[in-house]
Symmetry: C2
Subunit: 330 residues, 2 copies
């Protein structure tokens, strides 16, 4: 597998150097692996910190900026960051109003953010935590006890980020984040495996002519493998399991997310089928976001995430955001 | 090659249905294949129309909206749209101030936009045309006489779009577009071929362990094939040929563009090397854009585009834009 890299060992550091060079509005500590908005800490504002293994970009580093995260901690590819990164991030963004840790539900991330929370509180930073566990595909898997955290992370970071931007106290920012997670569900499919730089080839085998239904963002196994399906059939399957689990009774935000290597031409065709399938189930879509946002390196495939919203959450979604990966109104 | 599609024959129509469903701010004529901003024609504003073969998304349909294009005409995959689409688009966006056609330099596109210009003028629409031909890799190739049009198309559409948004007359909008093209140069590399839905497999053979230097956005041959190079070596090669040709004596806009399947983690690492290589050649980068903007379906690889700017062009770059594929300040 050919990659646009120097050597596997420096992939994360090289990307961080690139982020620093391209985005002067960020402070990137390449050695300690912390990405912080340059104007942090923002006076009077609750700080938002997230992080996780690299390989899912723009999540999380691409979501640092006004209206979203204050800092992100990237680990090695598909590997949790360490507590030291999170403690540094918390210290860098705390204005005295406290810090929310947004943690995807993977065993390593959960343990390390827990430890970091204790260490940061010892240093006088008030910490709240929210766990993202939106993936309805499986409970308990290779990396996780319980449901995995995937696409809903974007919704949690955006909506809690907007609440913090409005000057909400830590309690409200945490409650928005928790609510968004509870109101969100995801499901993903893989048409191909992804290749990590360290391995230099596919992380799992997916035979020609088959797809993986319910795949995780590290290529973890899903619900089942089937003979290749059409975009329409995949949309029906994914919408069915997500709607069945969420049972939304008000409009939803819809993320149609590319896993990395699926062309936008295909992704929009898939989005058409997802809209159709939702319409047939009388689910109203308030806003749609289409693109590569929560990726798995060069995996081909897609996921959908629904987040049921009320007027408050919809207003937070529409609020300005200015990050490398998501930007409007600013 | 597995694809997230229904059948190859409906790929473009399916994507247009998706664009319509996800972006209510656009009017998408799926049958006639014209994408128009919903509020067109905008009173007193020059209209901008572009188009080309599908498979390069978000170019061009993802760049329709305030501050950029008024309409786009998608052809079949890697196939020029037909004059009828362009004539419809021109009629839909002309407010009486005239329309600029932005045409990538491929034989089919040039012929069809020429014919459309005549037909539209017969219908009373004043038409100006600008040809984009920024790719320094080769002159004359599979699809083109002269240089190919690639990444600079984004700069032309953004900067001319901003000029039109300010209320500039057709003459000035055309002159901005022409100037941006003259001040822009691109160079791309492929690590893998792309697969078209019709063919169902790679459009050309690229042996394991080799890359194509100077590849076109349809996988056309470039300057040479070499044994796989590092990100640093590729950046040095690409920056050398682009800077040698452009010889910029003021700051530049830099686009580090993914061909489709290259992970953002790799793209930012490559961006770091491009910044380094430009710095060593004393080229100052005013703004950088990193992402999949002018793609070749699922090709792995990247291209760089430089556009030399003065204060006027930099202001136009920073002006608000609100499209599916590029958005800020609005």
């Amino acid at each position: 597998m050919k990659m646009l890299i120097n050597v596997p060992e420096t992939v994360v550091a090289d990307a961080l150097r690139g982020l620093a060079a391209c985005h002067p509005e960020l402070t990137v500590d390449v050695d300690n692996r912390v990405i912080v908005r340059r104007d942090a800490p923002v006076e009077g504002k609750v700080g938002l910190v997230s992080g996780g293994g690299s390989g899912h970009e723009p999540l999380h580093g691409g979501f640092v900026g006004p209206g979203m995260l204050d800092a992100a901690c990237p680990g090695e590819v598909f590997t949790s960051p360490v507590p030291d990164q999170m403690v540094r991030a918390a210290a860098a963004v705390d204005s005295g109003q406290g810090v929310l840790f947004i943690v995807k539900n993977y065993t390593g991330d959960v343990l390390n953010f827990d430890m970091a929370a204790e260490l940061a509180e010892d240093e006088g930073v008030q910490i709240a935590k929210v766990l993202v566990n939106d993936d309805v595909a499986v409970t308990d898997s290779l990396y996780t006890a319980g449901r995995r955290g995937t696409g809903a992370t974007l919704f949690v970071e955006k909506l809690a980020g907007a609440a913090a931007d409005e000057g909400a106290p830590l309690e409200r920012v945490e409650s928005v984040a928790r609510r968004v997670n509870e109101l969100s569900r995801s499901f993903g499919v893989a048409l191909s495996a992804c290749s990590t730089p360290a391995k230099g080839g596919p992380t799992f085998e997916l035979p020609a002519g088959e797809l993986e239904l319910g795949v995780g963002i590290h290529g973890e196994p899903g619900r089942e493998r089937r003979a290749m399906m059409t975009s329409r059939e995949i949309a029906d399957y994914a919408v069915e399991v997500v709607v069945e689990d969420l049972r939304p009774d008000s409009p939803v935000l819809l993320l149609v997310n590319g896993m990395g290597a699926t062309p936008q031409l295909e992704l929009y065709g898939f989005a058409a089928e997802v809209h159709r399938a939702l319409g047939e189930r009388r689910v109203t879509v308030a806003r749609t976001l289409v693109g590569n946002y929560v990726t798995s390196l060069d995996m081909a495939g897609a996921s959908i995430t629904l987040c049921q919203v009320d007027e408050d959450l919809l207003r937070l979604w529409d609020a300005p955001v200015r990050t490398a990966g998501l930007r409007w109104g600013a």
